[in-house]
């Protein structure tokens, strides 16, 4: 994972005369009939950052995006773009462009006419020449030069994706909104496009707001991720912050994978906590914010933080190897603990070589440092 500039860095260096915040949601709620799609959203979007809304379908992330685009008006609260409240501003008046999930390219227009569509709506009219130049440059940026006369249906999925991108960026929007833009692509193409998106964002300096349900995509692309659940924002932070310091089991589960052991929180002291499982096992880890003794909670430990040895170590847990998947760099084990149940373990290749690996049915011992484990309250 490439190190990312954090939000704090942007906030620290505001450009002269330009606010660091390009858009903002202030206590925004949206209901459709009886359904509350978004509740009390508060979020600032920094100029030039790559922000992702992450969550499962129906969590409200698309609603948030559509309120930024202007397709939905908030039921309460305020949406601001460049410091202006834009609640009632129609989409065609907003300096914002969107890349739609299914691209929504105009089937009756050529590639070039699709890309030039936004420029042709400008009043006063832009000179023909200027439109052609801008479209040509946009085609170059998305590496589709020479495709300008093509019809949309003659283009592959990945090419259509790039046309959709070009159609949006050619307008140089203040915010580029991307609604699951890669969901329709196959895995390999998706990887490629992720890199292209990232390059594009750096090259253009446009603020990108991405909506995705794919945590990997969010982690690899974003400066900041806004995790949503049931219409609410759960946690906002850089990918690393979310990975290392999830504020809830939900985030720990959604961002990366983790093992969870349930129990009663026995003691919380000095940023550390102790958890007792139903079978009486005592486990220790860092205490997450707001954790209180006497409540039920769980201990979260990432698979790669677990060491697996043949000989027992102090406070190690004996398990039986149930399944082994060779992944090249890593080997993934599914092991079974008598009371903790199934546990995922990820061991690097190096350790494998030293140990020659574990066979199915073999007994192994698991150990992790308390600092790597996190005790979370139950959601």
């Amino acid at each position: 994972m490439a190190p990312k500039a954090s939000f704090a860095q942007y906030a620290a260096r505001p450009q002269a005369g330009v606010s660091a915040t390009v858009a903002e949601l202030r206590s925004v709620s949206k209901s459709f009939g009886d359904v509350l799609a978004a509740q009390d959203l508060n979020l600032g979007i920094a100029r030039g950052e790559f922000l992702s809304f992450l969550g499962p379908s129906g969590c409200g992330k698309t609603t948030a995006l559509r309120m930024l685009a202007g397709f939905e008006a908030p039921s309460s609260g305020e949406v601001l773009i460049d410091g202006q409240v834009v609640n009632a501003l129609e989409p065609f008046r907003r300096p914002v462009n969107m890349v739609f999930q299914s691209y929504a390219l105009f089937p009756h227009l050529t590639v070039a006419d699709n890309i030039g569509y936004g420029l042709r709506q400008r009043r006063p009219r832009l000179p023909r020449q200027e439109i052609a130049e801008k479209v040509g440059r946009a085609l170059e940026i998305v590496r589709l030069s020479g495709f300008d006369r093509r019809r949309i249906w003659e283009m592959s999925g990945g090419q259509q994706q790039r046309v959709a991108l070009a159609r949006a960026i050619v307008n140089e929007p203040k915010l580029l909104l991307l609604d699951e833009p890669l969901a329709a692509l196959d895995r390999k193409l998706r990887k490629e496009m992720q890199i292209e998106l990232q390059d594009l964002q750096r090259q253009l300096g446009i603020t990108f707001v991405l909506v995705t349900h794919d945590q990997e995509e969010a982690l690899s692309l974003s400066d900041r991720i806004c995790v949503m659940r049931a219409g609410r924002i759960v946690q906002v932070g850089s990918p690393q912050e979310l990975y290392d310091h999830p504020n809830s089991r939900y985030v720990a589960d959604f961002v990366g994978t983790s093992n969870f052991f349930e129990g009663r929180v026995d003691a919380v002291e000095g940023g550390r906590a102790r958890l007792v499982t139903a079978s009486g096992l005592t486990l220790a880890g860092r205490a997450s914010a707001g954790l209180a003794a006497g409540t039920t909670g769980c201990l979260s430990i990432r698979p790669e933080q677990i060491r697996m040895t043949r000989a027992p170590e102090p406070e190690s847990q004996a398990v039986t190897v149930h399944n082994r998947i060779f992944l090249g760099e890593h080997t993934e084990y599914l092991v079974r603990h008598e009371t903790l149940g199934n546990i995922n373990v990820l061991t690097p290749r190096q350790a494998e070589q030293a140990d020659r690996g574990f066979e199915t049915g073999e007994t192994a011992h698991l150990a992790w440092s308390d600092a790597a484990a996190l005790v979370l309250k139950n959601d």
């Binding site: 202007g70 462009n97 969107m98 390219l105 050529t110 569509y117 709506q121």
Partner: protein
Amino acid sequence: MTRQERNWLLVAPAGAWFLVMLVLPLSVVLVFSFGERGPAGGYVPAFTLEQYANLPARLTAFKNTLILAPLGTLAALLIAYPLAYQLAVRTDPKWKTILLVLVIVPFWTSILIRSYAWIFILGGRGLPALLEAIGIEGVRLIYTPLAVTIGIVYGYLPLMVFPIYVALDRLDKRLLEASSDLGARPFRTFLQVTLPLSIPGVATGCLLVFILLMGEFLIPALLGGGKVFFVGNALVDLFLQSRNWAFGSAVAFTLIVIMLVTVTIYMRLIARLRLGRDDAQIM
């Protein structure tokens, strides 16, 4: 059974339909058109081009039809499009079905009965009486070209509404959002996205209405007071009144040929319009 035999068997029903419903009747019309009228009317076998030589006697009817059919189609289109648009784009889905059924309901009654209803609506005791009550006097509606146009638009409206409705209903609404997102005001979105993408529905509706209008006789006869004479009326007179089947067949066959030619040209134009937009924007 060989593959070839199977293929023949598969096209047989369509082929039979084509033969019985299209080729046979057309052949009868064609053969009759080279015949002669019997002394008491009807058809006497012969081979003569006399009937075709006599076609100029119905020139006015052909002229009237070739003016009425496109104009009636256009009038129906101008009324049907906003209606179809309202139904497909603006109407709450739960009302759509009910409103669509309301569009079809008139079809459950014979066009004859419905045209008679218009005779009374447009007659002196109908709309003109209402207009007189609010001070507009001397309006004559029944048995005018306007009455025929009203009747045609009324009668053919559903045929025009449905294909356009389907085209607009299938239109991906995200395209409209995309257009708006790219800065187009609603009217420009309509001109640049909605309208061009509904062209297939418009084309189908116009074709249906145009073809039927070419043979129309009932509405001009009932609402036009017989003063405006179309090929359809000429045919009714030739077959049912003067019983000149040979001449009637020649007129009918000529109408079919004109129709085929016009429809072919029309289809070509539509195909070109849909494919040839590389350079020319609709705006």
